[in-house]
């Protein structure tokens, strides 16, 4: 018997499209714009600036795979940043501040999970209230921007991983090595852990089952409520970590921290091939989705469209392209499957 190759699942197909488009986009930028895009540092900068967004997007992807939505992530991130900065400025312990970040994230995750899965309230409303609460608490803590004044952590913040062979030679002849911040390591770690959870654990497979079809998941004997609870828990926890990473990157707490992060994270997940209907999605796709989203902004700036509106208009255009493309691809597959 001829062994049939297993066909692509929707998840893999959408992810592959994203990665291909990202690579094509980047290569085109290298050819036509040159300059910064030819240096490895460009990618490192993208990662350095968006480590927190990557972590947040991972959490959101998990929730979306489970068929829910969490729009509180940006708010929680900003609350974590503000409270950690204030705690550290009052001579706090850096290690405890990390625990504080995790604690705040977990608290939000648990509360959202309880309300959504055990009280059956619509997730949009619950997490919207969560966002309002987190944003409001941030301004209650401090309306004015707070600079991180903890010496130990500031020194720790300055540590960068230097890779000499990926560096470039500056105009004055000095070799500038490629620099990666520690936050990026944290982000990559989160991506890998969430990837492993989704791919190899029972919990991860349950997320897909829950998002794909709740009724069947229930009949398979999956504890639907607990599984849904776990998605929000993971998202909350990752928002907490993202807040800490964000603080490491900016070194200041501000009421407008991570403004619009929830929508950027949703956009990243969608570009990466996660469907809001649930059951379809992949962390690697989300990772590339975030990179695509941020690269397009960089390309617009570099290519000389200096007017402030072009960045978001081109982001919108790219979202439109991806969303319509996904819709067409999936409906075509649906038709060809029906023919078989």
């Amino acid at each position: 018997m001829k062994k049939r190759r297993e066909p692509f699942t929707d998840t893999q197909l959408l992810m592959t499209i994203t990665i291909c488009i990202f690579v094509v986009m980047y290569v085109l930028a290298m050819i036509f714009l040159g300059g910064g895009f030819l240096r490895a540092q460009q990618i490192f900068d993208l990662l350095n600036d968006n480590a927190a967004l990557i972590i947040v997007s991972c959490g959101l992807t998990v929730v979306m795979i489970g068929g829910g939505i969490d729009i509180s992530v940006g708010g929680v991130t900003s609350l974590v940043v503000m409270s950690c900065v204030l705690y550290l400025n009052g001579n706090g312990n850096p290690f405890l501040s990390f625990l504080l970040a995790l604690g705040i994230g977990l608290a939000f995750g648990i509360l959202h999970g309880l309300l959504v899965s055990y009280l059956e309230i619509q997730p949009f409303i619950v997490t919207l209230a969560g966002m309002f609460f987190a944003r409001g608490m941030t301004t209650i803590l401090s309306v004015n921007p707070q600079k991180l004044a903890h010496e130990g952590l500031n020194a720790f913040r300055g540590i960068k991983i230097e890779i000499p062979w990926l560096g470039y030679i500056a105009k004055n002849g000095n070799l500038i090595p490629g620099r990666i911040e520690l936050g990026v390591v944290m982000a990559l770690l989160c991506v890998i852990v969430v990837f492993l959870i989704l791919k190899f654990t029972r919990l991860g497979r349950n997320f897909y089952a829950l998002g794909g079809n709740q009724q069947s998941a229930l009949m398979l004997g999956i504890n639907v409520k607990k599984t849904r609870f776990m998605t929000y828990l993971i998202s909350g926890l990752l928002s907490g970590i993202a807040g800490f990473v964000f603080m490491m990157h900016t070194g200041a707490g501000n009421a407008t921290n991570a403004a619009g992060a929830e929508m950027n994270a949703i956009a990243s997940s969608i570009i990466g091939g996660t469907l809001l209907t649930g059951g379809v999605g992949n962390i690697i796709g989300t990772f590339f989705g975030t990179l695509t989203l941020t690269t397009i902004k960089k390309i617009v700036v570099t290519s000389g469209l200096k007017d402030p509106w072009w960045q978001s208009i081109s982001t919108g255009a790219m979202l439109l392209f991806f969303i319509v493309l996904q819709s067409i691809v999936l409906s075509r597959r649906g038709k060809s499957k029906a023919k078989e």
Binding site: I69, L115, Y118, L119, E120, I121, Q122, F124, I125, V126, L128, A129, G130, M131, F132, F133, R135, G136, M137, T139, I140, V143, A255, M263, I266, A267, I270, L275, L276, T277, D307, P308, W309, W310, Q311, S312, I313, T315, G316, A317, L319, L320, I323, V324, S327, I328, S331
Partner: protein
Amino acid sequence: MTREAGKRKGGVGQLLIPLIAIALLVIFNLIRDPSFFSIETKTNNTGNTVLAGNLISIINGASELAILAMGMTLVTAACGGQDISVGAAAAIAGSVFVRIIRGAAPVTGGTVIGAFLACCAVAMLFGSFNGMLVAVFRIQPMIATLILYTCGRSIAYWINGGATPTIDSPITGAIGSFIPGIPVPTPVIIVAVMALLFSLTFRFTTLGLYTQAVGINESSARLNGINVTLIKLVSFIILGICVSVAGSIGVCRLGLINHETLLIDIEMDTILAVAIGGNSLGGGKFKISGSILGAYVIQMLTITLYAMKVSSTDVKAYKAIVIILLVVIGSPVVKRWFTKVIGNMRNARKIRGAAKEGV
């Protein structure tokens, strides 16, 4: 989400939560300050006799929200999802409105109407763009409208030419505040007119019924000969009209268009109003009146918090707590528990009554 839609009860029961919320807020305010709801007549700086007071500012301030909530209810009912681009679209509509009014040298009633029609057309265009993505390409409403949410305010900035132009004319001023001789704020009158238009539309057309049918079960609606695509598209276009009205009011109120701050975060409040009004966010049965009440609940809450000297940036945190309390009371689990408890009490009374008769 969609599965629950069919189970929801319609009727007055649906309005229970917003009515309870309003009652609680009224009682709370009356205890806190007995004169909170007193209405007085004042003479404003243009020399009109107008009504003033907290109640007026609640009803007046919620106008844009109420108008958007009407349209949003329809979209929610038909598509089982929400439009998160209303704020951005309102900014675009407002920009078009301002641009045309600034273009006309003497601002007459005709120019204002013309400007409104133009911004209405633009908003309907963007509405049909969203509607097409949802109805034809079958994209989730929230995702489809994320596009306009991302770039809408920038488009408005572009229309404004990178500035925040102002309009200064007695006519637009009257739309934003008071028409000479009428003591009621104009936005309130516009809300009433919009509500009347909606109720007339539902009374004399099949739109309401069809929308409900599409929301409850799309395939069966199609099999019954309803054009599902058209109904979804129409709901988005109607929301577009609401957006243009809200945007114009917002611009007239302030006398300027600021693309960043015009009706900021209103999309979240609008969806909240729809949910507080007892409508399922998963589509299906709906009640516009519930959403309007929901809008007033939100505004009343905000004004109450302002009156308690909470700063405008901190309001969100307290608002969140009240929202959570409201939705917990309205949640299916708590409702079931209540019905069970009430049922048990009735049974117990029956048994006791039967026992007494027996004796």
